[in-house]
Symmetry: C2
Subunit: 218 residues, 2 copies
DNA sequence: CGCCGGATGGACTCCAGGGTCCCATTTTCC
DNA sequence: GGAAAATGGGACCCTGGAGTCCATCCGGCG
């Protein structure tokens, strides 16, 4: 592709603070709306209204709706990774994982399980209709899983996890449990399935601890 | 709402063989198209064309698109449950679970992980925009999980599974792993994550077997 | 064999929502 | 201060796609 267009915030064009702020406001509004209604069910007029901007600004900052959505994928991905970095960067012990699990469950319980995972929902909605979005989401999932597997690697290196454990696979399993948990919780409007799913994954990881701290799970 | 309309295939109105066949053709086409493109990205004209019918027939059999979608939720739910009943009804051993896992993985690998689970995708796409669809999907997931937990109960009763195992929770965990696996596989266009996720869940169940058949997982 | 109501074809309506345009205002830079 | 570009407001255009309508066809039944 010799396409000059860059998904990143316009690079060569002069851009002011005000412009950046507007762009940010649009993304923030799109993020909120598309989180609760889904991408396809959210109209540009909704976004325009919620962001207190106008059509011309939407199209000034984004070529079309697809570009806005792609920008949102980046935006949301960055938010999630930033949040997750906070919770996982220093992961060194099993109890750290439990704390991480609790934070996710609590956050989701505030919505009674509704809406699911910002990334997971987009992945389902977009994977079959926008290859570029799909691949960005894939990358984001990979980065997220890496945060987890890095933590597990640290645990293995420090002797907490058995040498024959496979941090990458454990991380993938945990991520799948998380996403599946989000999905079932959303369908049920209830966090319970998400808890069960995460507990299963943690239990599985626990089984690789060098000295199991007591009984398997609850 | 004292609305008399019933979602079920028209009950009182007389209906001919030909009519039934047409209705079926429409659902079948909608099923196919919406599976690969998603519900919202599929138009009624697409369905009309693919089913070799006409607008008047679509609206003869379904009040509007939403009703068609709800009918599809039922239709697809019935298909999945029927298929799953085949694979799970006689589940009595761990190796039966493994066979079940393999069948799902193989089916999904035919698409390189694309499209995900027919029910899971709908759950994500519809849960936030159609309460009725959401609740039907929830019921279907519950029935599906019950097929699994019934099998696990049989295993527990026969002494294969430990008495202190919780078939319902194990089934939920397995379902979450399956759905999360579908989701990640779809984002990756690759079945691998689904395999890892299912293996994790099976490993977890294995840990409740009365006599573990060897080493934990691979 | 003619009648009736369901089944069907397909043209037509209508509007939500994506996308364009033009002019006003503000900022930036010389 | 003023030209040029960025930012902004919002009316307008236009198409896709949902939903309507009616003439015709068919098949079972008296």
């Amino acid at each position: 592709m010799s396409d000059e267009r860059v998904a990143a915030p316009t690079n060569q064009r002069r851009i002011s603070q005000r412009g950046i702020a507007t762009r940010e406001r649009i993304l923030e509004a799109a993020n909120r709306l598309m989180f609760v209604r889904g991408v396809n069910a959210t109209t540009l007029d909704d976004v325009r209204e919620a962001s207190q901007t106008s059509k011309s600004q939407l199209y000034h900052h984004f070529a079309d709706k697809q570009e806005l959505v792609r920008a949102l994928v980046k935006y949301r991905g960055a938010l999630v990774l930033q949040r997750e970095r906070g919770g996982l960067e220093r992961l060194r012990s099993f109890s750290g994982l439990v704390r991480w699990r609790n934070a996710l469950v609590q956050a989701n319980s505030l919505n009674n399980g509704k809406y699911g995972c910002g990334l997971g929902s987009m992945a389902v909605e977009l994977s079959d209709q926008d290859e570029q979005a799909r691949s960005m989401l894939f990358e984001t999932f990979a980065a997220w899983e890496k945060l987890i597997s890095d933590g597990l690697h640290r645990m293995r290196d420090s002797g907490a996890l058995r040498q024959d454990s496979d941090p990458e696979k454990l991380a993938t399993g945990l991520m799948a449990a998380l996403q599946g948990g989000y999905l079932l919780a959303n369908a049920a409007h209830n966090v319970a399935p998400m808890e069960v799913a995460l507990d299963m994954a943690l239990e599985h990881i626990k089984s690789f601890l060098v000295e199991p701290s007591g009984e398997p799970t609850r």
